[in-house]
Symmetry: C2
Subunit: 224 residues, 2 copies
C-alpha cells in the first residue's frame, strides 16, 4: 500500500515549545518521522514523505532497505490540500493511506490492521477528535483536517455513501503533540526506536506523580 506521511519540516511541534528548544523539536520530530517510516516499511508498505520543505532521508539516519523504500515529495500547500492531491481519483486507483509523522508508538502490527482495510474508508482516530491515520479507497472521499476532523470525516464518508471503519488502536491514537504525551513515548517506545532514545538523550526520564506517569527533565548541569 502507498502511504503518504505529511511532515512539517520547518518549526515542527510548536506545542512542545515549553519543554523543547526549536532545535530539539526539529531533532525529535525527525526521530519520530524515522520511527513511523520504519514501521510503515516493516508493514510492507511504501511511504512517501510529503514535506513542506526539502528533506534528505539519509539525514533521518535511515539505512539500507529502509532508505531505498522511502521517497520524499516537497509540497508547501496546506495539509488538507497536499493530502487530497494524492488520494485515489477513480475506482481503478489503489487505496492510499495517510499516516501522521508524530505517531511515535506506531508498530508494523498496528499499521497492518489499518492497511488491511482496502475498501471505503478506514480511520484510526486520535484523542480529541483527530484523524491520526486513514486509508482511502473510495475516489470521492476527501480529507479535511481542520477542526474536529474525525467527526467531519465520518460525515464526508456518509455524504459520498461509503463505509467508514474505525480502527481501534491505542498506538495509532497517540500523536505526540503536548508535553504530557512525551511520557507515552518513554513508556511504550521500543528499545530500538529513535524517538525514546532522543528524549533520553535530551535528559527526559519517567516520573510518577499522583499515580500517573509523567516526564521530568534533568537539569543540564546534572546530565552526563
Amino acid at each position: 500500500m502507498h502511504v503518504v506521511v505529511p511532515f512539517a519540516a520547518t518549526d515542527p511541534k510548536t506545542r512542545l515549545a515549553s519543554v523543547l528548544t526549536s532545535t530539539e523539536r526539529s531533532t525529535f520530530a525527525r526521530a519520530m518521522l524515522a520511527d513511523v517510516l520504519t514501521a510503515i516499511v516493516e508493514a510492507d508498505a511504501e511511504p512517501t514523505v510529503v514535506s513542506t520543505a526539502p528533506l534528505d532521508p539519509a539525514a533521518l539516519s535511515l539505512e539500507g532497505r529502509l532508505l531505498d523504500a522511502v521517497s520524499v515529495a516537497v509540497d508547501d500547500r496546506p495539509l488538507t490540500e497536499a493530502v487530497n492531491a494524492r488520494l485515489p481519483a477513480d475506482h481503478d486507483e489503489a487505496a492510499t493511506a495517510v499516516v501522521m509523522a508524530d505517531l511515535a508508538l506506531a508498530t508494523p502490527e498496528a499499521l497492518e490492521r489499518l492497511f488491511s482495510h482496502d475498501t471505503g474508508v478506514a480511520i484510526a482516530p486520535g484523542r480529541s477528535g483527530g484523524t491520526n491515520a486513514v486509508v482511502v479507497s473510495h475516489p470521492d472521499f476527501r480529507v479535511d483536517y481542520h477542526g474536529a476532523s474525525y467527526l467531519d470525516h465520518c460525515e464526508i464518508a456518509r455524504d459520498v455513501d461509503t463505509h467508514l471503519e474505525t480502527i481501534d488502536s491505542f498506538r495509532l491514537s497517540t500523536d505526540i503533540d503536548e508535553p504530557e504525551d512525551l511520557a507515552e513515548v518513554l513508556v511504550h517506545g521500543a528499545d530500538t526506536d529513535r524517538a525514546p532514545a532522543c528524549l533520553r538523550e535530551f535528559g527526559f526520564a519517567l516520573e510518577t506523580r499522583d499515580g500517573r506517569v509523567g516526564v521530568a527533565r534533568l537539569e543540564e548541569s546534572t546530565r552526563e
Copy 2:
C-alpha cells in the same frame, strides 16, 4: 470469562469535581458502569461489580438478561487488595479479567480481543502508564495499582516468568478521569450508551477549539 469490575460507590470521579457536582459525578459514574457491564455481557463474559459499598444493579437501569448476568460483591478493601483476592490462586482456576468501571468507550469487540488472551497476562494499558484492563491466567501474578501500574505489571510478569501481552485498543485505553476526557465520550459513545446520554442531559456538548474537540456546558438557564 469471569470479569471483576471494581467500583468506587462513594464520591466517585473526584477529578471531575471542577465540572460536575457530587450528585452528577455519582450519576455519571453509574452510567459508565452500566455501559461497561453491558459491553462485558455482550462479549459473553460474566461480570461481578466489586463495590466499595452496597449497590443495587437494578438502580443502574439494567434489565432482563443484563440484570441477571451481573452480580455484586461488596469489598471495602483498597483496590489492589480487593482485586488480588479474586485472581486465580492455582493453575486449575480459570483466567479472570479486571476491567475498570470508567472505560466508557469499551465495546464488546474490544473486550473480546482482550478476553481472547487466556494464558499468562494480557493488559490493555491506559494513558499515563495506567492499567485499564487485564486478564490474569498465571496464578502467581498479582496486581499493584499504585503508581505507574502498567510498567509495574510488566515487571511483575517478568518476575513470575510469564508472558505479558499488550492489547492495542484506543477504546480500552480511554478511562474517563479528567474534564478533557468527556469529549471522548461524546465523540465515540454509541447512541444507545448511557454515559453520553447522561452528559447531554447535564448540558454538555462538543465544541471545537484550536482544532481539537472539547466539551462546553450550556448554562442551566439556557437548557430546556
